[in-house]
Point group: C2
């Protein structure tokens, strides 16, 4: 039984994701597709568009056999930790392959880049530090350091200015560094750029573009062409129930209250908040009455938009540097959903898996899991919902 | 020039308050009435019904010449600290008299009680501790200890089961203990019990009763008989502007979010939160979807409703035990409003006052003042208002 893993957010699940699952299955001749998926807060530092159970339904309705939650500590982390969390979970799940989408589309350049940067790691780190000191954001510094190390920009190496290539690089790094048995493969992402808006006459659009279109038009009909029908139906059901699609704009009153309640000294304890920016966060929260003006005020060359949003995510969910540092590797396999195929796989393998399986959060005191549960509660409050502790109550989705 | 001080909340200003000001002026032959008034959070651990500037207008329109803010640290504290803050401010303002309303109505029993409890302080404290250990709330324990010390309950001593008598006792205690020059006097409170509902055919009702009637009827017309016209007009103006009257019920979404965001270990750092109750607070915040159910779940014989509300106030405004302990005595005289008479008094006396006068909060780093400013910001966010830093912008009210 060949198991292939994918690391995903499905925010929301669209035709590009469907293509990714199908291609992954075909390319690796997989009997089972296991998706490790983020919960209620995502790698770009945002609340998920719809809740994790709805996104699990989308995944299983569209070809995933088993959906596992990427814990908050990794789902909201910078690329290398995000990748590490996903890769270690897939390895614990005994996957044979990891298949990721990339702008590059073939695996060899990733392996070449990995070998190059491993061999020249000392110079690479030194370059990065210098560029960060000169005022660049970390991703820009990393890319510039990398450019300085490759003799010519050619097809032997991967272009690390592309977001999915960066993630892909970190997947390979994690798979090698932790000596996993995962065989990494990649497929060419069949879509416009990561952040591009939706375009008529096409069927593939980025999740960012789809969300943007829905926020702007306050309606989902006109994005139906970019979503598999099961995914569209679930979004439709969500909005029929008068549930708002989550965003920082929607959560802003709680975020602003939380910021203004804290002192500068407290703010800098939160994960990803680096010295100095706490004063700016407070000043902007005082002045700005909406999220976008707030972000524009805080944004600088020094920090990417995404990095600032990740700080806000950690402030919102009360997640500190010290918690982040104590959560090095995944500690459990939390099942969000499965079909019969997924269930069969679990029954066969569960005894030999290296991490405990969790179907429903019980009275665990595991801090990593407690943070997932807290993230759910605060996400639900942000949406104006009243029921707390859903992680204790909702069993894995079965379709 | 005789100056008489009153310590008040005016939540909102009603006919009983008007009577108190008039009687205080008459009894002490005062040329000027100075009111030390709480800001946006009150001694019973609640957000003020309307903001402090509106309540200042009410006070000056009804006979107060000068309104000074009782800092958050005292305004939200237990009776003895509340009294200390008020008394020390009135003394710093060089008042000749302090005149408080009480169920007792004459001053001698207060002085007798004070002398008795001073002389027998050791036994008194021991009794209180024993009663608290046996499971009584602090106020009940205090009253029971007191009952054990007086030979017979007679008119020589004051009845300390009455809320305004308790406050009065603490005024005298503070005035004596800090060797102030204030001469304490009292008048009989001309109204039904502290918490009694409004009754037709009368003109005096408790502030609690008036607020309750407005919350319940969603309308202020039917309480007009209990309010001086200036006070009624200001409440009317407030509600015409579609501004909600503040309450925990209204602030509940923010309070609940704040509670659920915190860990038990963090919760017990907040002022008045004593070991053990933090778990109950969290459990109740998870289960209960409105403030009253929440309170009913947390309430026990051990803690008064008021005490629990004070904990919540401190959690809401991020005010810790360590801050509370560091704020022993008032550090400034913050002017909220005045008439010409009040202004003249200030001009004459300001050079000899023992604390700095503040008209508008400037870029002070005084922690006591920063907490007043934070309390205003969070109160305004609770009400759904967007303008922050009003303490920096609104000059003293002049009428």
């Amino acid at each position: 039984m060949i198991a292939t893993g994918v690391i995903v957010e499905y925010n929301p699940f669209h035709n590009g994701h469907l293509y990714h699952i199908k291609q992954s299955r075909e390319l690796t001749d997989a009997d089972i597709i296991i998706a490790v998926m983020s919960g209620h807060f995502l790698q770009r530092g945002e609340p998920a568009f719809v809740d994790k159970w709805t996104r699990t339904r989308m995944a299983i309705s569209n070809g995933a056999d088993l959906v596992i939650e990427l814990p908050y500590a990794f789902a909201t982390a910078q690329a290398s930790d995000f990748a590490k969390g996903g890769v270690l979970l897939l390895d614990a799940l005994q996957c044979d392959y990891l298949c990721f989408g990339s702008e590059q589309g073939s695996i060899d350049p990733f392996l070449n880049t990995y070998t190059l940067l491993e061999e020249q790691n000392a110079s690479f780190q030194q370059f990065i530090q210098e560029f960060v000191k000169s005022g660049l954001s970390y991703p820009s510094a990393l890319n510039k350091a990398y450019q300085a190390l490759i003799p010519d920009s050619n097809a032997q190496f991967v272009d690390l200015s592309q977001p999915n290539n960066i993630l892909g690089y970190h997947y390979i790094e994690a798979a090698r560094k932790f000596q996993t048995a995962l065989k990494p493969t990649t497929i060419l992402r069949k879509q416009a750029g990561y952040h591009d808006p939706v375009q008529e006459g096409t069927t593939i659009a980025s999740a960012t573009g789809i969300r943007q279109a829905i926020y702007e038009q306050q309606d989902i009909e006109h994005v139906s062409g970019f979503l598999p029908s099961a995914s569209f139906d679930l979004l439709n059901e969500w909005s029929q129930g008068n549930q708002p699609f989550a965003s920082w704009t929607y959560f802003w009153p709680y975020l602003r209250f939380t910021l203004l309640r804290l002192t500068p000294g407290e703010l800098k304890e939160y994960a990803e908040v680096t010295e100095g920016i706490e004063f700016l966060l407070l000043e902007a929260a005082k002045e700005c009455t909406d999220f976008i003006s707030f972000m524009k005020k805080v944004k600088s060359k020094r920090y990417t938009w995404t990095r600032i949003q990740r700080m806000l995510t950690h402030i919102f969910t009360n997640f500190t540097w010290s918690q982040l540092k104590s959560m090095d590797t995944p500690r459990y396999i939390r099942i969000l959903g499965m079909n019969q195929n997924g269930q069969k796989y679990l029954s066969e393998r569960k005894k030999s898996m290296s991490l405990p399986l969790i179907s429903r959060a019980a009275s665990s005191k595991e801090p990593m899991l407690l943070q997932d549960i807290k993230a759910t509660d605060l996400y639900m409050l942000g949406l104006g919902k009243n029921k707390m502790g859903l992680d204790y109550r909702i069993p894995p989705i079965r379709i």
